[in-house]
């Protein structure tokens, strides 16, 4: 090797290794261990089965109980409490949502308990990761968790909870709950359809949308077959039976993918609005989705 190359190699070897590297690597390994390309099952459907029987409608009563006298929008989402950590270069901010004025108290308290438990777990996980990072010499670390109300109309309440983790790089995850305010129940994806044929219908539509978007904008990249001959990653095959979703204000089904699920990280959290015509034949009714 000649002297110039030798010098270049030195330069290359002198690239500073950030102290967060260890942590980022270990975290990425832990997170993805044993996945083998199979999408993790997304919970939510389990608890929902309990509520479907618990329909109980009495808007007049609910109305009189509420401090906001508006039929249909009495159900509210508030910040129940916040967990905060400020420790030098490490910071966490966790907002816990709480649903108020749902007539179905079992549903209300189950959802609220779920939100609180998840937040507590986030908080304790953050603290143990913080300790771990400190032992490795410290570094920057942050977490931001909160919620967004995606839809809040007479019929539907859709709450999204997000967690943004920042350790060198960042990752974001979203979860949604969609509540039928009129019938006071939690809507699951399978409950909207007559049978499982929604899975391929939606999956194919999403693949089509991915390809169209990539064609229009070369900066967009999805892991979809044919578009990724050169990327050694399993392409997106199908949505999960209980894929994350919500119903938007126009009564359209929106399918959600977390960062890295179907595209490179820079694409972020992804949403696909499914045209109702695509799934019309498999819908149980047009109550929610129009």
């Amino acid at each position: 090797m000649n002297e110039k190359l030798e010098r270049l190699k030195k330069q290359y070897e002198n690239i500073t290794i950030p102290k967060e590297l260890d942590f980022v690597v270990e975290k990425a390994i832990r997170k993805n261990k044993g996945r083998h390309g199979i999408k993790r099952l997304i919970g939510g459907g389990v608890a929902a089965a309990l509520f479907i029987t618990g329909i109980n409608t009495s808007p007049t009563f609910a109305n009189s109980m509420s401090d906001v006298p508006l039929v249909g929008s009495i159900v509210k989402v508030l910040t129940f409490r916040e967990f905060n950590v400020h420790d030098g270069t490490m910071e966490a901010n966790i907002k816990v949502p709480v649903i108020k004025n749902l007539e179905n108290k079992t549903l209300e308290s189950t959802l609220n308990k779920k939100y609180l438990d998840e937040s507590k777990k986030l908080y304790s996980d953050f603290q143990s990761e913080m300790e771990e990072l400190k032992q490795k010499g410290g570094g920057h670390m942050g977490m931001d968790s909160g919620y967004v109300v995606k839809t809040d109309n007479d019929r539907i309440l859709a709450i999204g909870r997000y967690v943004v983790n920042t350790v060198g790089s960042s990752s974001t995850t979203f979860k949604y709950d969609t509540v039928d305010k009129k019938n006071q129940l939690l809507i699951t994806l399978p409950s909207l359809f007559k049978d499982d044929s929604y899975i391929p219908l939606i999956s194919e539509n999403i693949k089509k949308q991915m390809k169209e978007q990539m064609k229009k904008d070369p900066n967009k990249v999805y892991w979809v077959e044919s578009a990724m001959d050169d990327v050694p990653v399993t392409p997106f095959q199908s949505i999960d039976k209980n894929q994350i979703f919500y119903i938007n204000d126009h009564g359209k089904l929106v399918i959600v993918f977390n960062k890295y699920d179907v595209a490179p990280g820079y694409m972020g959290v992804l949403e696909f609005t499914i045209p109702t015509a695509v799934i019309a034949n498999d819908l149980v009714s047009n109550e929610y989705i129009k």
Partner: protein, 167 residues
């Protein structure tokens, strides 16, 4: 079978994380982004380790993921490229010695990715020509051609600059 591949993969990542970081950094030139590339590459690798067939090719396979992830990222970042302090410091002439190296490094940076990747993998990461061919999914002759092209270009650029210095 899958578990064994996964174990080897995790072992490889842990053993080579610094090399992988440098490789990613050599593309994105920024600490945060390089860490992002690492995280994403590990994710891609572990979630598709079943597509890794032959045992020997693990290194090339993982490097390929890192290279492709970096290129994906650059394609996206093409229009806007902020620099962090470290990069600015690196580019600022601080001492005479460093100054000369910067010219050399800049010459390397100015090479097209296709040529630069080959030089980095061959001379800095000590991959064999055959392994580089696997990383890039090209045949061995293409890799050789690019290597010579890259070296020639480097010498040429550096040579011209030293001529100017003499004058």
């Amino acid at each position: 079978m899958n578990d064994r591949v996964e174990k080897r993969l995790i072992h490889f990542i842990r053993e080579n994380k610094e090399n992988i970081y440098r490789l990613a950094f050599s593309y994105v030139k920024n600490e945060q982004n390089a860490l992002d590339i690492i995280q994403e590459s590990i994710h891609k690798a572990l979630s598709s380790s079943q597509s890794l067939k032959s045992e020997g090719s693990l290194k090339s396979w993982f490097y390929r993921i890192v290279v492709n992830t970096s290129l994906d990222f650059l394609r996206k970042q093409k229009r806007l490229q902020p620099m962090d302090d470290q990069t600015l410091e690196l580019l600022a002439p601080s001492s005479e010695d460093a100054y000369h190296d910067i010219d050399l490094e800049r010459a390397l940076d100015e090479l097209p990715h296709t040529l630069r990747t080959v030089i980095i993998l061959r001379y800095f990461e000590d991959l064999k020509i055959g392994e580089i061919a696997e990383v890039l999914n090209e045949n061995i002759n293409t890799v050789k051609t690019r290597l010579y092209q890259g070296l020639r270009k480097l010498r040429l650029d550096i040579g011209e600059e030293s001529l100017e210095e003499v004058q």
